[in-house]
Symmetry: C2
Subunit: 606 residues, 2 copies
């Protein structure tokens, strides 16, 4: 049994020092070139830009992934008067995840496949300055598990970076939209697709990959900002996990790690002071646990990596030997908070498995692991006894173990469902309240594993699912406030459907999120009291952002129903078990909304 | 030379009396059945419903096609405070013409192909009560000349009537969306398509047909409201024009009338007191005038027909032997006004040819025919001398005659362009100001006819066009107020692009329209002063409507750029001469908006 947390952290650190030397020369040369060109590193510019609350320069607003804005024109007292200021249709149907970037007077809006990018001039009546629409083989669509989503673009060094569905990472001139370079990050023929938002760190652009339902061997890869040259690639499992030699190999049977998933389609965070990037890895492939004995490291794992080298500093596997598709890709939110009288550098993560984790992000020490939905029943909790051989592991309830149930047995009533108590929809953190605002799913499932053979580019799922609200509940979502130090829900608002939209916290004391029916909602950060709601054109699975333009604070959100929860609507599926079980669970959504991507922007009246 | 106007009216009337007898028995039987069932005629119900300004029960709001509402909560004083109340995405891209019906707490929203219909409950947060989506052969799309538009549904007898792209006229239970009957109105294999809104008159549903660019032999047809049985069909030309035997045959060479166009895809009006329906017929096919000598009657003609029999009471051909594709399908607006001291029953029509006509609708007497854009140059005006052999005919300027120019000659600088000074976008009439509010195109063209052979289902256009603003003008549209008694523009607002949206006049003294960039605008009915504008998600080619719900007045408009003017965006065309010349003319539109259908609903703040 591998130890986790601090132990791995120390072990990894040594290995990293060795590997660091290998890439030092290349990095230094790059650095010299950048300095010679008179340019500061892109992340110096970005770090500075992210301090300006008028802009929204990276997918989560800042490197810490807090989705918190210091803008405070819109307050709990006046948010009820919010109005729609302007709107913009993207011209694309299906699910619109992510949100726009705002840099000065420019806004960059992305879409799902075919992955259009619009540059709008906010100072000129939001006119379209340029539009980019890649030509992509539509055959990528059938290998996108959970709608044709894309979670957004990144900015750095005067360029807009887009990770296309076909895994092309493209750098566009932010002023003109001209393609500066493009690199291929994967092969859709093997089920490798691009859905995640990249992150610019220093002179690199980092990007993950999707394909956990196709047996993809997933990784995070760093490309050179200027040229698109591949600088390092860190796989989630196998000999190239950039952690410690063979740290994961022995937790897989044979060479199953080669088709082992551990995908990396979530959000990336970065701590410039510690020089570490953080992200989670997804489910091991297949979903049939009997077919892949072992802990399947480092699937379902929080990674802390050195962005210069790709080497892991520490790891923590949340769900060894996953039996439920509890992808660990959800975002890591970085905060500095007082814990037990001492200032701690924390990392808070709301996992698909229904547990919210608080760790020391310097070393991976596990501080808190608690259920953030009381219906979570597959585990009784995490072993927090540091001297225990199972320290850090969740205690699995036999009744809900699909591995114990075995192949072709339908294990019923597992909570949460495969799409987790939370999926990709990012939470927000307010330093004012020291609370986390979490869009959650309130959904359970029946799960029947079956034997499946691997064929490159073909689904490698190995389980049939159905999803439904927990017993006695008629609602399928909650929007909650979470205390990451005590591991407790502070308040919880029921929502009819899963909250599949990313939250926004603001210095005005107002928290925003969207609903699958299409409402943008504003609530009081302290109490959760609903202060405003507005029905946007379609269901919201995008993330709420805010910016200031011409002295006025705006709230912006993409609507356009879809994603996993909305896949029935998005792909026109009707069989209840289709969409990996989502079609039946969310069938009622069609009574409330229809497809269509558009941006809705709000402000206070003149 | 055929005489026009009153003369034809009298002639037609006699013929009609004879033909009336033929259908009298069937009509009477239907009437007896309706009375026996205890039901009043559908149009008694409809006429009454259309008096209730809270509803919007037919495409134009009323039978007179005024697009005027007695609602007056929203006034010139408060319209500046208008807000978006709610929005609804239709899930369909491409051009959204027409507008929703509102009947009690229900709203019926239609879309372009695939012609979805949504029934929304306005009293229950606009939830989707039912949705209808026909299965149609997508091969109909290439035979739709000017985008895959649909101009709306009709209501009568508890049913919603939809004229699908594939010409299926379908009756849906207004409560459940269940198909009650369907009838096939044409054959897309011959280029016959459905784009127009039907009109319920008494126990019948009347509908036209599209296909003037495919040599379709066009007609208006009446179906039985209860059963969908075809009751009468009146062709625009040929022996079955239901006017007078052979009244049109001799104005065609040979049997060209069989592929002669004269399509009927515009709006229908109805005067219950006179028991006449009014509509216009479109261009003769082909667009190459040399190929079809003669006046090509009754293309380009205003028809007054008896809805019981289909027989014409009077006709007036506006553009004999069309040389410019000046379709005569635009709506007939019925008003009762004082002219020269006497109350007259008027019909006002803004033709594609750039002339606005005022006629006595009882007999077709021509009262006024004046240019409603000063740049109109193909004619010096209409011969108004009743004793002249050319009475009622436009005087054509040789320089702009494409017939005189001949085949393969590019006649330049013709104003207006083929899409007319106004196209389908309906004007509004306010009895308060006695002014007409007209969305117009300010566009000229070069026109080069060429010889074309007829093949069923293939384009039969026979001309290449390019479109552009008039010399010296940078704008391509005007929104004007028109005095139909004097034939003069009262005020005119410039718009960057053609105003392709239908207008709404209200008792609050506010007139509304939409722009191709996507703005909903509110102007003062008296002065044209802009009082409010809002950027909806996409360009507006829909018609503005208003209704009252829960004591509050709402303004609703479909956005979703497309139609002929927006065909470049809608169909992804880039060749400037594509889209019958519209692609080049409106290329700049892509700097302002993108595709996507959605309804935006406005109201005053609480």
């Amino acid at each position: 049994m591998e130890k986790v947390g601090r132990f791995n952290g120390i072990q990894a650190h040594k290995w990293e020092e060795f590997a660091m030397r290998k890439v030092l020369l290349a990095t230094c040369l790059g650095l010299i070139a950048a300095v010679a060109a008179g340019g500061a590193l892109a992340n110096d510019e970005l770090s500075k830009m992210s301090q300006n609350p008028k802009d929204w320069v990276m997918p989560a607003g800042d490197y810490a992934n807090t989705r918190y804005s210091k803008l405070n024109q819109i307050t709990t007292a006046n948010v009820g008067k919010l109005q729609v200021a302007w709107t913009f249709s993207t011209g694309v149907l299906r699910g619109h995840e992510g949100g726009p970037l705002i840099i000065g007077n420019m806004m960059y809006v992305h879409t799902p496949f075919p992955n259009k990018v619009y540059a709008l001039d906010l100072s000129k009546d939001n006119q379209i300055v340029w539009k980019y629409e890649p030509k992509q083989d539509p055959n990528v669509i059938p290998v996108m598990c959970c709608d044709t989503v894309n979670r957004g673009v990144a900015y750095g060094d005067g360029k807009i970076f887009l990770h296309q569905a076909d895994t092309t990472l493209v750098a566009l001139d932010a002023k003109t939209g001209k393609v500066e370079w493009s690199s291929k990050n994967g092969d859709p023929g093997k089920g490798e697709t691009g859905t995640s938002a990249p992150l610019v760190v220093k002179d690199k652009i980092l990007v993950g990959i999707s394909g956990g339902e196709f047996g993809v061997h997933c990784h995070v890869t760093a490309y050179d900002l200027k040229s698109g040259k591949l600088l390092w690639r860190a796989f989630s499992q196998g000999p190239d996990d950039q952690l410690s030699k063979d740290s994961s190999l022995k937790t897989w049977q044979g060479d199953q790690w080669k088709i082992g998933g551990g995908c990396t389609w979530g959000w990336l965070s970065y701590d410039p002071a510690l020089n570490l990037v953080y992200y989670g890895s997804g489910n091991p492939s297949t979903w049939n646990p009997k077919q892949r004995p072992g802990d399947n490291k480092w699937s379902m794992t929080i990674f802390a990596r050195n962005p210069d080298t790709g080497m892991a500093r520490w790891v923590y596997q949340m769900t060894p030997h996953d039996e439920w598709d509890y992808d660990g890709v959800n975002e890591m939110i970085l905060s500095d908070q007082q814990v037990g009288g001492a200032e701690r550098k924390l990392l808070t993560h709301f996992d698909r498995n229904g547990l919210a984790y608080t760790l020391d992000r310097t070393n991976g020490e596990l501080l808190v692991a608690e259920k953030y939905d009381p219906t979570v029943n597959w585990t009784t909790g995490v072993d927090m006894n540091k001297s225990s051989p199972t320290y850090g592991r969740p205690k699995v309830v036999d009744k809900y173990s699909t591995a114990k149930g075995g192949e072709d047995v339908n294990t019923k009533g597992i909570c949460p469902a495969a799409l987790g108590t939370k999926d990709q929809q990012p939470a927000a953190y307010s330093p004012d309240t020291q609370l986390f605002y979490v869009p959650t799913n309130h959904v359970c499932m029946d799960y029947e594993p079956f034997k499946v053979s691997y064929t490159a580019g073909q689904p490698y799922v190995g389980a049939t699912l159905s999803m439904y609200p927990p017993p006695g509940a008629s609602h399928m979502g909650n929007f909650i406030a979470w205390d990451n130090k005590t591991g407790k829900i502070v308040w919880s608002n029921k929502e009819q459907f899963s909250v599949w939209s990313g939250a926004l916290a603001t210095a005005g004391g107002v928290v925003f999120y969207g609903t699958l029916e299409g409402y943008l909602k504003a609530v009081d950060a302290k109490s959760g009291k609903e202060l405003y709601k507005f029905k946007t054109p379609s269901g919201i699975i995008g993330n709420v952002t805010t910016y200031e333009q011409g002295g006025k604070q705006y709230i912006a959100v993409l609507s356009g129903v879809g994603g996993w929860a909305g896949i029935g609507l998005a792909a026109g599926l009707t069989d209840p078990t289709a969409g990996l079980g989502a079609v039946g669970g969310y069938a009622a959504l069609s009574n409330y909304t229809a497809l269509g991507g558009s941006l809705t922007v709000f402000s206070l009246p003149q």
